[in-house]
Amino acid sequence: MSAPSRRMVLGGGALTVFFALAVPAGAQEGHGATAGLPGDLKRQPRLDSWIRVGADGRITVFTGKAELGQGIKTALLQVAAHELDAPLAQVDLITADTGLTPNEGVTAGSHSMQDSGGAIRNAAANVRWLLIEAAARRWSLPPAGLTTGLGAVQAPDGRSLPYGALATALDLAIDARPDVPFRPPGRGPVGRDVPRIDIPAKLAGGAAYVQDFRPEGLVHARVIRGPSEGTALGEVDIAGARAMPGVIAVVRKGRFLAVVAEREWQAIQAQQRLQTAPSHSTAQRPNDIHAWLLAAPAQAQVILDLGEAAGGAPTASAAYTRPYLMHGSIGPSCAVAHLQDGELTVWTHTQGVFPLRRAIAQLVGLPQENVRCRHFEGAGCYGHNGADDAAGDAALIAMALPGRPVRMQWMREQEHGWEPLGSAMVTHLSASLTPEGRVGSWRHDVWSTPHNTRPQEAGRLIAGAEVDPPFAAPPPQPIPMPEGGGDRNAIPLYAFPAARVTNRFVPEMPLRVSALRSLGAHMNVFSIESFMDELALMARADPVTFRLTHLEDPRARDVVAAAARQFGWQAWRRMPGRGRGFGFARYKNLGAYCAVALEVEVEPVTGTLSVGRIVSAVDSGQAVSPDGIRSQIEGAIVQSLSWTMIEQVAWDSDQRTSFDWGAYPILRFPALPKSVEVEVIDRPTEPFLGTGEAGQGPTAAALANAVADATGKRLRDLPITAEKVKAAIG
């Protein structure tokens, strides 16, 4: 085996590092050869921005991604420990912090395993090789003969050096190389069901959330604003609030208003007193949002053009709608902010500490380098919810109280009233069938308001629009393909001979919107997969067979077949009032493949749906944590059932009226499916694929298809409520 060596002389300390890897030399040459680096190593190639090794043997791994309850901390630790060949317990992980970690943008789009996991894996492999070479120098042995295990380098003669003993001989202020070999799967934590490291504290009242964070000298704040976005308060009784017990300050900047008190309950009482002021609407909200979407000025973009089918008119066409949906975090958004010696620190459950730092610096008028945003877990967010706004609120209040850490939490009605929603949407689909019963042509048009108004500027924070003078919000932009926003997953994965898909981006936002888990994919996959069943029925084909007929990607075929087999699709017994449904998608046509099969029973008098067994198959590439993948898919399925069966945001001419869990119900235990099974198809030689959002669309479609199978009625307007089912079956 040839082991081409390269000698890298680094500036400054003139430290010399020898690489001696059994890898091709070509890819290594040239300064900053980051081209072949995976994930976010491309942006941050230096090893010490990802991994440091201490003399005590502790290894610290840095990620710019945040734990959102998806289990990313444990999965990234598994990846790092595996490639470093060190025990999991020897590795610590620091997550998203503008003062410490690499900038990996936002934790969104099911990118964490692909981007951060890929980067950490490669960086860890680099560090392990550098440790081997450090030991080789120490022992004057060729590195090729050395091995690693349990956090130590081992020589063939039995000598061993723990990584800590090599730390001083290690220089990680160098760029990662793309060509360092990975350790084989199978021997190490990757692929094993490692218990989540964050769960024990969450079960025993540990300081697990920013809501629990209590630095010395903490004071409690609440903000006061109208009952929902698009409203404003009239005259408020500031003097009355200031005189209330425990109130330290009333902070007012333009229309931004907050109370600060020693005790949390005191702050809430003062907030409630101020909140009783009359409010008025500042926005126009159309009654029929779907009619409005079709008529509103839109930017049309053809995102797939495979031409028109020969021979004319479509065989079938259908229109589908989705209402506005809420993230609906169980814990209202919260942040702690502390101004000390001109430096502002904000502990926040944002998905993007770096973009948020920029927005907050602008909001409070500090240079970015004087603002530090540190991720601290909150309740699950499922996208861009109130987290960033709450951080902006806390920051603005903290600026008025130098030296005091300020904890600001929204009330439930503020979370429901002010969070950016998942957009209402409309799709129109049409297709022709060939005489052989195949799709001859396909057309898909999607209308939606934006799916990304994440703040990088103060104008996109609620407080930014309230201060005087207000900051302007930059106009929203569509998210380009291949990821897409409203058009996410609008391009079918099926092989159709002719197809045209058009995105109609409506920039105006009658209700406040931004990224909600899976963005447009929930609606587009619901539409495509519903329509596939409608076409299968016309072609007198079995829905699973009809899908397989049009699917060429072997991994797609595998998950469809696996879900059908596990569900017992062929042997499923038909009974009156019962139906089975299937749905499939590859998230963004880039991420995990997911198929869902389920059965539903329809109560004929009320139209109530009882979901029975649900089976899913998922291919996320190499499965780092199979149970983590199962957990994410189970969660996506249950959440999507809630969206699909009961959820819709309501409003009137004055305000958003979905102000609590009574006005915006979500699924409760008695309405759960009978069971949810998830089969993980592991692909140990394939890259990690994002999993977290893969289940939303397929579940929605599977439910609609099962209802159609049970009743013979096709319901195309979400949510599929008992009332709509009842109306359809008469």
């Binding site: 079960l203 025993a204 249950v638 959440q639 609590d660 869990w661 235990f669 759960l672």
Partner: protein, 152 residues
């Protein structure tokens, strides 16, 4: 000053009697298990036991507690020495974000104290007041069954 029987000991607290128990626990006593979710008794994130009965601590005033024993998730065990219900949730990995979990654990604890061997329907009915947004429900159900099977 109010005397509170809490997690096996007695504490005196200075919060006013109309203060919801949730803020007495979190803010005055520094306990973090019970969570603020809605303040309306709609989500159950704040669930604690009064004697053996689960209640919404966001709606229970300090003055109404009287001599009933308050149990929070901290009273069931610690991170290093978890109690049976906490162990069952850990064994089933029954948390995603976990913000609802302390409330779920207390709701389930209340169920098993009253009904040690509940049916599936009884578990689902008992957990109905508590919301989870991550969709961890199926694992939570498994954890409660697990706890019912391993405790006698």
């Amino acid at each position: 000053m109010t005397i509170l029987r809490l997690n096996g000991s007695t504490r005196s607290v200075v919060s006013t009697p109309e203060t919801p128990l949730l803020y007495v626990l979190r803010d005055e006593l520094g306990l973090r298990g019970a969570k603020f979710g809605c303040g309306l008794g709609q989500c159950g994130a704040c669930t604690v036991l009064l004697d053996d009965r689960p209640v919404f601590s966001c709606l229970t005033t300090l003055g109404s507690v009287g001599d009933r024993a308050v149990t929070t998730v901290e009273g069931l065990g610690t991170q290093t020495a978890p109690g049976p219900m906490q162990r069952a949730f850990e064994a089933e990995q029954a948390a995603q974000c976990g913000y609802c979990i302390a409330g779920m654990v207390m709701r389930a604890e209340g169920l098993l104290r009253k009904t040690p061997k509940p049916s599936e329907a009884e578990i689902r009915a008992a957990l109905a007041p508590n919301l989870c947004r991550c969709g961890t429900h199926m694992r939570i159900l498994r954890a409660v069954r697990h706890a019912a099977e391993t405790t006698s």
